[in-house]
């Protein structure tokens, strides 16, 4: 998939198996995301880069029934014409919980506890045709999703 990541240092890209880039504290061992200079648990400035796990379970979710105001600027996988789409909090075992877009789910299939895995999806195309991609989570384990990276429709 073409496109530049929505931010530098957010996920490994390009990659067949993208990973979110977080941090691990050298003092208290807490895993954090996104990576910051200081540790949110203990405040130590000893945070080093940590690639987060690709698989997790859905801890909670909601639908997004309206397009948010600026600075929201998605227009491909989600956006006004796609509402509602779905967002959730994904628990990465042994690490932390991450807020993210959810793709490939419907009101009928989405449920707390379902397995999900990290994917990279189209996010927006600007007026000059430049494409941006971002991260999301999709149902199932990382190995079984043949459609990854294909711009999964966000659901009903």
């Amino acid at each position: 998939m073409a496109g530049e990541p929505i931010a530098e240092g957010l996920f490994t890209w390009p990659s067949d198996q993208p990973r979110l880039i977080g941090g691990r504290c050298g003092e208290c061992d807490a895993v954090s995301f996104p990576r910051r200079h200081g540790c949110p648990r203990c405040g130590a400035v000893a945070v080093t880069e940590e690639l987060l796990g690709r698989e997790g379970t859905l801890w909670t979710w909601t639908s997004q029934g309206f397009a948010p105001k600026e600075p929201f600027n998605g227009n491909v996988t989600v956006g006004a014409q796609h509402a509602p789409w779905f967002v959730g909090l994904v628990e990465i075992p042994g690490e932390l919980r991450i807020e993210a877009l959810l793709v490939g789910v419907t009101p009928e299939t989405i449920e707390i506890g379902m397995p999900v895995h990290l994917v990279v999806v189209p996010w927006r195309v600007d007026d000059e045709g430049r494409e941006t991609v971002t991260f999301a989570f999709a149902p199932g384990a990382a190995g079984q999703a043949a459609h990854d990276g294909g711009g999964v429709a966000a659901g009903v």
Binding site: A7, P34, T62, F72, V78, L96
Partner: protein, 387 residues
């Protein structure tokens, strides 16, 4: 003698409200001046009698500019902002100044004037990365949808309970002459309104709006010079989130779980006041949406997690129930001018505890009231009032 019947050191002797709503062409400061004049008149005081003031607003950088309308008396006037807990911080600062003996009579003022729709801001100003906003995740309403959805999963709360909470808010608004939303809505109308963030529908949410509220506080020793019905501010506590709390505007949350800041603020407020949740006879809770009211009932200790279905179905939180909550319609029926919202809660508690609430008066005039605020990025305030 019960602890809460002991003498307090800070009294509320006057309250004033500029009704919340939409006022095209009217500035937040003008609304603030009107609320201040009403509070002063209620206390039988004139502006030059006020030793100090504290003002809170999101949209107005310096609420002290209100002196242009109230009179430039040279008093010390401190502006505070602490998100949705702004009024709690303003009250706390005023109470501290009185307890320290710095001043004897103060005005606490909140005012705001927001545009319509969900709040937005620069994510980086809330310690969030820019991409978090670009992806549409920097949104309070979606956090509240996620929080109540998990809470419903864990504790069996139903969407019908959420609809009952909202219907109660509109019913209370219908009998409150100063409410923004004064039309009662049925549970069916609430449930069938547009789904904004599952399980929360449009009519389960409050709206940002406009308005002002003011409170006159004084050294309790002199309160009866100004009123026969002082209400005592027994405690006011603010807290921020701890590592492990699941909070609004957070790209990630820790696996380890700690209580929300409201829980810690409530515990500290009860301890400082020497009273417990079993003593509370009326509560004003941050009902940014119906789910928040349900969760905050438990977070401030008024019930256990999961008891809300039964309590709310039985009408416990209605005006005539055993534990009236948001008797003026709360945020859902009044909207939220951020800087003023918490002082509206205090205005309502004082009005009820003086027995002056008219059609919405709690039948047995309450003597212990609790007010709770919560907002981004994880701030809370809890105040306890007694007569």
């Amino acid at each position: 003698m019960e602890g809460w019947q002991q003498v307090s050191d800070v009294a509320i002797i006057g309250v004033g409200l500029h009704p919340f709503g939409r006022y095209p062409g009217k500035s937040a400061l003008t609304m603030g001046a009107e609320a201040a004049r009403l509070a002063l008149a209620d206390a039988g005081l004139a502006w030059p009698d006020v030793d100090f003031a504290v003002g809170g607003s999101f949209e107005v950088d310096q609420p002290d500019a209100v002196v242009a309308e109230l009179g430039m008396t040279g008093l010390p006037f401190t502006n505070v902002y602490n998100g949705c807990a702004t009024a709690g911080s303003a009250l706390a600062l005023a109470a501290q100044q009185i307890r320290l003996g710095e001043h004897r009579i103060g005005l606490v003022l909140g005012l705001d004037k927001h545009e319509g729709g969900a709040f937005t801001a620069d994510p980086t100003a809330y310690a969030c990365p820019a991409w978090y906003g670009e992806m549409g995740l920097f949104l309070t309403t979606k956090f509240f949808g996620m929080k109540i959805n998990r809470y419903m999963h864990d504790h069996g709360i139903t969407q019908q309970t959420l609809a009952r909470v909202a219907a109660k808010a509109y019913a209370n608004g219908a009998v409150n002459p100063t409410a923004f939303r004064r039309t009662a809505l049925s549970e069916e109308e609430i449930l069938s309104s547009r789904m904004l963030n599952f399980p929360l529908t449009q009519y389960m949410f409050c709206s940002p709006d406009e308005g002002a509220a003011a409170v006159v506080v004084c050294d309790a020793d002199i309160a009866r010079r100004y009123t026969d019905t002082p209400v005592y501010l027994r405690s006011v506590v603010t807290r921020t989130r701890r590592y492990g709390a699941f909070e609004v505007h957070t790209p990630s949350a820790a696996l380890e779980h700690v209580p929300a800041p409201t829980v810690e603020a409530a515990r500290a407020a009860y301890e400082a006041a020497g009273i417990g949740p079993e003593d509370v006879q009326i509560a004003q809770l941050q009902d940014t949406d119906a789910g928040n009211e349900v969760m905050h009932m438990a977070e401030v200790g008024l019930c256990a997690d999961g008891e809300q279905n039964e309590l709310i179905a039985a009408g416990a939180t209605t005006i005539t129930g055993s534990l009236p909550v948001n008797t003026d319609g709360g945020l859902i029926a009044n909207g939220e001018p951020v800087g003023a919202s918490g002082l509206r809660q205090v205005h309502e508690l004082v009005t009820q505890m003086r027995g002056r609430a008219g059609d919405r008066q709690v039948p047995s005039v309450p003597r212990v009231g609790l007010a709770q605020l919560y907002g981004a990025p994880g701030v809370a305030a809890v105040s306890i009032l007694t007569t």
